[in-house]
Amino acid sequence: MAHDDAGGSAPALRADRLGRRYGQVWGLRDCTLEVPAGAIVGLVGPNGAGKTTLLEMIIGLLEPTEGQVSVFGAAAHAHMAARLARVSYVAQDHPLYRDFSVADMFRLGRAMNPSWDHGMAQARMDTLGIPPKRKVKTLSGGQQAQVSLTMALAKRTPLLVLDEPVSSLDPVARLEFMRDVMASAVGTGLTVIIASHVVSELERLCDWLIVLTGGHVRLAGPVDDLLAAHRLLTVPRPTSDAELPGLTIHRTDSDRHSTVLVRADAARLQALGRPGWQADPVGFEQLVMAYLQRSPQTAAADDTAAAAAQPRPLAKEVTR
């Protein structure tokens, strides 16, 4: 993991043992990630899992308590302006200045961002049928969300961060919002991080996944790779966990059989072929739900065991 950016483009996001403490409680701990440019990332977790904490540290709105995070190579407090220039953010509830008109909001965008694309902002308003002179508070929820999204897109950054962008919107507004996000990602290489706790909507949108529970990353990687590394096994009920290949993520027991989601490398999966056993691919939603349902204690224990089994790359000591 110690490779440099020399010769290749920097990853959209790199986090190294990132953590944030609020008083006695760790909102996020030991988060290490590397997300490539152009990925559309789903960040999933229950409320309070640390999604907003992680996002705000990525953007630069929050200081890490430990560890580091960089966006397209721009890290640390010293590069704050550079970091801010690379990320746009639509926060939960898409905050806007309610007394401003839409035109005022765009003027703010232009005043505060050198990379602002005013033409694009206005064009979007034309397409959506939102008159620029209207005050924000007179717009519907869906329209406000669209204005917020326009603010973010017109900033023309390579990374777009959306924090539960559609949770307060009706189904039609939801669809329109995500439609515009997907359309913006085509051809521009835009990297998008979408935080959500609605798993079902993410499958069609994301090609990269991060699952967060209890302030820790439980699963992270390209969706295809993650799906390929897991299997849904149907085994006879008496089968013990030790007999199962790889790591047991979730187990459901019936009278005579058990269904187990395991994470195992390809070799171990090939070794299957026992009588009465069946292995099926796992679906996106099943996979995510299984990880979300693991108790934090089990997850922590498994992660420590896995870390002990693998030599860990040297992490730089953080000096502040």
């Binding site: 152009g38 559309i40 669809l175 995500m178 439609r179 997907m182 359309a183 990602a185 085509v186 051809g187 079902s200 499958e203 069609r204 949108l205 994301c206 090609d207 299997r231 999966l269 090939q270 299957l272 069946q278 292995a279 099926d280 679906g283 996106f284």
Partner: protein, 129 residues
């Protein structure tokens, strides 16, 4: 323009659904050789899905020899021979009908037939695990 649809609750990965729809449309004659498939942007917008999914589906179609990209112009259907020759189609159809009659005479209900097909397919897929 050819329009795809997405069944969010089918459990089938989106990119596969797109591939299946092209295959099926070819079979039914709704897509013919030379037809242009919609752009990645159009599909991603229309279905509200990740553009990479569309790219993956189109690559899979290329891999199977059903479609190909012409630089600057888009992705076009290249297969005419995928549409199985009408004669072979009819032959398959005939053997299927005969099998169904045999199953009915053996006392299998419709549900049992469907289940049997699913299990058989399953086992065949299992061999590729």
């Amino acid at each position: 323009m050819f329009r795809f649809r997405l069944d969010a609750s089918s459990g089938v990965p989106p990119y596969l659904q797109l591939v299946h729809q092209v295959r099926q449309s070819l079979l039914l004659g709704y897509l013919r050789e030379g037809d242009r498939l919609p752009t990645v942007k159009d599909v991603a917008s229309d279905l509200v899905i990740n553009p990479n999914t569309v790219v993956k589906a189109y690559r899979q179609l290329e891999h199977e020899g059903l479609a190909g990209g012409r630089p600057g112009q888009g992705t076009f259907i290249t297969a005419s021979s995928f549409a199985v020759e009408p004669e072979s189609n009819q032959a398959l159809r005939a053997s299927l009908e005969e099998w169904l009659r045999t199953a009915e005479e053996a006392g299998m209900s419709e549900e049992a037939v469907t289940a049997l097909i699913a299990v058989a397919r399953h086992d065949m897929r299992k061999e590729k695990v």
